[in-house]
Symmetry: D2
């Protein structure tokens, strides 16, 4: 694993991987490469657990339905066992119209934490208030006002002093952020130099944001990284090796990079995020039969 | 348009684009660049026809459902008006499990011609006979026999002396090729240096294949290019400028290249082929409500 | 242009594009789409200025040497005319070994501002102090110590209280950061949630960073965006429409996105950053003849 | 390895990988997966042979110069030991202006076989006769005549009854094809459905082409796959496992796919083909010092 070290406990006779930020004064750390032999884990050729599969990346030209069904099964067990499921969400979820499927998952109790950038929240609020994304409506016709809607959405939340408050005041009555507030999903929003005007509640300082992210990831058992490569890599580098990780992105290189942080407990799907979320929500909710 | 020329008809006072292979002795062709002024077509900002849209490529992070519904509407009109719809199909259709959706479109009468490579047919037959793709079953577990199934499928068709004959002899009883034979879809299969053992009926000579392709494209009104970039570019270069063209591929560059041959009558979608075909078939057939 | 508006000056009878953050109280802004007709600029078919070229993106399979020579010529004029040239630099510059070429450009006075992330600086310092990138030496053999070198580099700068100070104390005696300090290049470093331990002098707050970036971009005439897509998009969105912009990246989509912010004064090259910088530095410096 | 089987020689007590087309009647082939244990080869962490390196793919953001130097060293040994070096060449070589570097390698005796498509030859001849690629000159200005030059080049070779004959008649006096004829490089040209008018000497039948390719690859010791993904995959699937294979392409997925056919003797570089060939030719020829 990149950015990890091997900590040895001489009393117990055990060794474990530790991230740099988890090293404590006095820990005994393996230094150098001499004398360390790496034995690749023997993967099963028969298929048992979706996260211990022989191929970790499902390419664009490979079937995904069976994997999504197994993933749904695993998430169902996780929810029953009081596991904590975190999602890292990119703006493409809102823009492609996949928000409604994510809302279904939130309503059914499958999401405990949501990590996203300022722009994800801004897109979601623009969609909820105006029905557009950067002024473009879902049928791709330009709405009157164009990019203006995006700025109005940001300003509406700022005026209400934050998302939770906008929900309380009935300014924000639908969308992903609204569902998170209503179903007690922890929202962790971080800023970036690409943002246009931060929404209240966004952590704009990178160091502070990392601290919050680590805290909110500490007890997580499953992480789903959705079309948000930069954010996903930041989150992936903070995970304990035992956290089950799914990455979905249309860019094969992005999936490879996110997955390599969790080589033994991860699965990557090269696909469009909208049909992935639709199919996952169909598997996990009653509204699976589409009208 | 690349590989086209401007033919002028002095009597009628008109000019039109002609492909090189359509130029006849005696045609008057514009030579040189001097005196030619290119006026870009003023695209509508309000949305009328899906093929004359302001943006021709729908990116991975843009919504696709509305476009797919409009495309379905257009295909419904085309079928009613006795238009001819051709499809160029890549192996990913079979491998991702999208074959069943293509079969629904064939059964409902939406496909008149199918253009594909030898390997597409081989994948489809392997799936129909053994349930696998290169020995891999849909849940991505390795089947017994592995790659062997692929060779057995090719050999089964060779032994039956072709696909139509294999359908007649009840050797091939399901899949896309089977549906094409049963619903009178013209199958145009071409060979490539990457093929492993050609199926009977595949045109292996490139020049002969081009001749057949041009004939079978002559009266086509709509072309759908699905996850088959090389084949799609060959077909796109043979189309009259009036043929409505849709290209679906997960690689943005592939979509751009296929679309630029038909700049005024085309739409490209950067997405996974399986959910695209599922949604299109849901729009166009009764079996749209999923169980 | 995205995120811009049209400001009209009724007295002068002129109109100009303004970015949202440049709008002042009292400015008259065009609202709505009605009555606005967009006339695409008629590009020259004969080649005059490299930035007003008929094709703005040079693809991987197109020749780049002539464009690089013309770009060099333009930069030579810019330097003579006291223009300000800014560079946005990604870690791949250091990792591919292109740092020495960038140093040559800095030494010859072609760079006035350098924008980068914390990790770019950390990679450059690791290279300068240990000769490695994430512990990997230029011949791709793993050095003793591995990832450790990266952390040591970060710590060395922290201990010296910053890059300028490390140069002064002769701790840092080579590399890009060193060249910047020695040749009075303004260094603007910003943090991100992916960083491992910020170097002193890095602005970690996104809002503060944007403010600094805008100030340092205000008088810039040329911007070169090098293999740093996220940072490049942030910078591109802050540029006046007259700033000449070059984007170099190996990912075609990244180049397209960066370029579309500056549609009339930009050129994109889909290529590897190392040979681009080598060729540009060869054109602009005496050390062009390689040994 | 895909499309291979394990052939056991009971007398000798040995096993080896055989491609399907190399299996002879009577060979004993391992069937099924039971009882087969795959032990991954323990790669050296210290760097010995460039083809047995710990990482087989050098990404866009990794240094390439050291690898290219080692590759040059290996090719120098291969030439001295009378090894046979084959190249698979894509049109981007001609279009990017890398043809001159390939010519240097041919003149220095580093290429024994050249595999390409019809369009590669057509581009090279267009460049040699008119100085353009699809009518575009190296400084990217459109030449008079446009795409016309490409057709004229094809016709010039057809009229001369082939490339060798055009060289003999002094019609073709420069370029890659010319260098191949002059230095006894075997040229293996194959057709495709995307070609515009085949040049004399091109094998247009896919099955016949495969037969010729296999014969010409039989004694090859090194294969260099350059920016020609489809052709490269066809060639890679025909190679004995001992053939040292290099793949250079700007598309990471293309490199991965080409390399996986030769997992133990291959190296992939994600980079632009022009600088790669320039640097390789600089390493291997006296003309390395550029003016």
């Amino acid at each position: 694993m990149i950015n990890s070290a091997i900590a040895v406990d001489r009393k117990k006779g055990t060794a474990r991987a530790v991230k740099f930020f988890d090293v404590n004064k006095g820990d005994e750390i393996v230094v150098g490469h001499q004398g360390v032999r790496v034995v690749p884990v023997q993967r099963a050729t028969t298929h048992t657990d979706v996260f211990q599969f022989i191929n970790t990346v499902i390419d664009a030209d490979e079937p995904k339905s069976a994997i999504i069904r197994e993933l749904a099964e695993d998430l169902r067990h996780a929810r029953a066992a009081k596991g904590k499921i975190a999602i890292v969400a990119g703006p493409a979820i809102v823009r492609t119209g996949a928000g409604e499927h994510l809302v279904r998952l939130i309503q059914a109790g499958y999401i405990d934490r949501l990590f996203a950038g300022n722009s994800f929240a801004a897109y979601d609020v623009e969609r909820a208030l105006f029905g557009t994304s950067l002024g473009v409506s879902p049928d791709l016709a330009f709405a009157r006002g164009g990019h203006e809607n995006h700025m109005r959405a940001v300003n509406a939340i700022r005026e209400a002093s934050g998302i939770a408050s906008a929900v309380e005041k009935k300014i924000l009555t639908s969308g992903i952020m609204h569902a998170c507030v209503c179903h007690n999903v922890d929202i962790v929003l971080t800023g970036s130099i690409r943002d246009e005007g931060p929404i209240s509640g966004v952590t704009t300082d990178a160091i502070e944001a990392q601290k919050v992210m680590r805290e909110k990831l500490a007890d997580v058992t499953h992480v789903i990284l959705l079309a948000a490569i930069r954010h996903s890599l930041a989150v992936a580098s903070m995970l304990a090796p035992t956290v089950k990780t799914v990455c979905v992105d249309i860019d094969p290189s992005a999936v490879e990079k996110a997955i390599e942080h969790q080589p033994l407990q991860s699965i990557g799907l090269v696909t469009d995020v909208e049909p992935f979320l639709r199919e996952l929500a169909d598997c996990l909710t009653d509204s699976g039969v589409r009208d």
